[in-house]
């Protein structure tokens, strides 16, 4: 009886110890890769985290209200706007069709390179949705009553 119990306990301890080691190893790897696992950098992080000039990366933040101007370049739709995360902001130019959810005050992720003049030349713009879901009537009511807090 005690022999069987101890064998089970030994197996349990072996499995748990193996899992603990594995968990630790994965945590270390994820910490080491932290910067690479980040899908985009915020405008305020560009100074510290942006790669070498000419290398492409992604920036993410909110489209600044009133900053969007749509134009045409060589007959294709184009846009320029500012992306902000509060402390910092960066100008973005983009030639191409913007996604459905692209709005002022909404989240956006742009892939491209930082030009020497500090303007981010985007080759791809993705809309980032936040975690709030509500019908239009509720959104309008919230805006009207002043309880509206724009998404992050």
């Amino acid at each position: 009886m005690s022999g069987r119990m101890s064998r089970k306990r030994r197996r349990l301890i072996a499995v748990l110890a193996g899992l603990a080691c594995l968990g630790g190893a994965v945590a270390l790897v994820l910490t080491a890769l932290n910067d690479n696992l980040t899908f985009f950098v915020a405008p305020s992080e560009i100074a510290t985290k942006a790669p070498a000039p000419g290398r492409s990366f992604r920036i993410g933040g909110l489209v600044e209200g009133g900053s969007v101007s749509r134009t045409r370049v060589d007959g294709k739709p184009a846009a320029s706007f500012r992306v902000t995360d509060g402390p910092g902001s960066v100008s973005v130019t983009y030639v191409g069709i913007l996604p459905d959810l692209f709005r002022e005050g909404q989240g956006v992720v742009a892939m491209g390179t930082l030009r020497p003049d500090g303007v981010f030349a985007a080759s791809e713009v993705l809309a980032k949705h936040d975690e709030t879901y509500m019908p239009k009537e509720v959104a309008d009511a919230l805006k009207k009553s002043g309880q509206w807090k724009p998404g992050s």
């Binding site: 696992l37 980040t38 899908f39 959810l101 980032k128 879901y133």
Partner: protein
């Protein structure tokens, strides 16, 4: 013969008990899934930003929940099998695998179908999407591994070890949207704060999650019953052949 009976005692009890529960499980799963999806598709409001594309979440979120939840069940069965040698745990792990893989694939496919119109892309390699794809490969690896050996016992053992190793992917999936900047939005339903989903959308979503979960359980139980009966048939045929020899 006594040893054989003893070995089947536990699965026999499972067959009796599950046979009684299964009809209720299946009916509840079908009804709640139909109510949740019907409500979500036809009666829930459209989103102020996403329009009607928001209706995809009534499938995407339950599928994502079952992808992770199913894997947790698979890992639990693997632990029971490795440590306590529970006679049903091996079979349960084998039967959960394909169903969980299906849910993971459905989660990825519906996410893609939502992402194309909303984000503007079918796929990005952000931490959430990538860790979910890793989960699909863990499921597929388990499915392949448990069938890769001539002796089923060795296959169960190898599959159980893989399943337990893969458990580290579950917290990565869950917290990827908080640990790193991802394109995928953070969780809307949390245990720690009020949900950020309007109640007229939250109810059909919760019902759909419950319906999918019960349906998942019903399908796994039905497969497990079949597996137990198949194993018993094989055992009896083998015993008969040995008697004849």
């Amino acid at each position: 013969m006594a040893i054989t009976l003893h070995r089947f005692a536990n699965p026999g009890q499972f067959l009796r008990l599950s046979g009684r529960i299964l009809p209720y499980l299946a009916v509840a799963g079908v009804v709640l899934t139909l109510v949740g999806l019907g409500w979500g598709l036809f009666f829930a409001p459209a989103d102020y930003q996403q329009g009607d594309a928001v209706r995809i979440i009534y499938i995407h979120v339950p599928a994502a929940w079952l992808a992770s939840g199913g894997y947790f069940g698979l890992a639990l069965c693997s632990l029971l099998s490795l440590v306590w040698r529970h006679p049903l745990a091996d079979l349960a792990a084998v039967e959960i695998g394909p169903v969980g893989a299906g849910c993971t694939a459905l989660c990825l496919a519906t996410g893609s179908l939502w992402g194309r119109p909303m984000w503007g892309t079918w796929w990005v390699w952000d931490a959430r999407l990538t860790s979910m794809l890793v989960l699909l490969f863990l499921y597929l690896g388990h499915i392949a591994l448990v069938r890769a050996f001539d002796s089923p016992e060795r296959g169960y053992r190898a599959g159980a070890i893989l399943a337990l190793i893969g458990v580290v992917d579950l917290p990565v999936i869950k917290f990827s949207v908080e640990w790193w900047n991802t394109l995928h939005q953070p969780a809307s339903i949390k245990f720690t704060s009020a949900p950020t989903v309007f109640s007229g959308m939250l109810w059909p979503l919760l019902i759909s999650i419950l319906g999918f979960s019960l349906g998942f359980a019903a399908i796994v139980v039905a497969r497990l019953r079949a597996a137990v009966m198949e194993r018993r048939t094989r055992g009896l045929l083998l015993a008969r052949a040995q008697e004849a020899a």
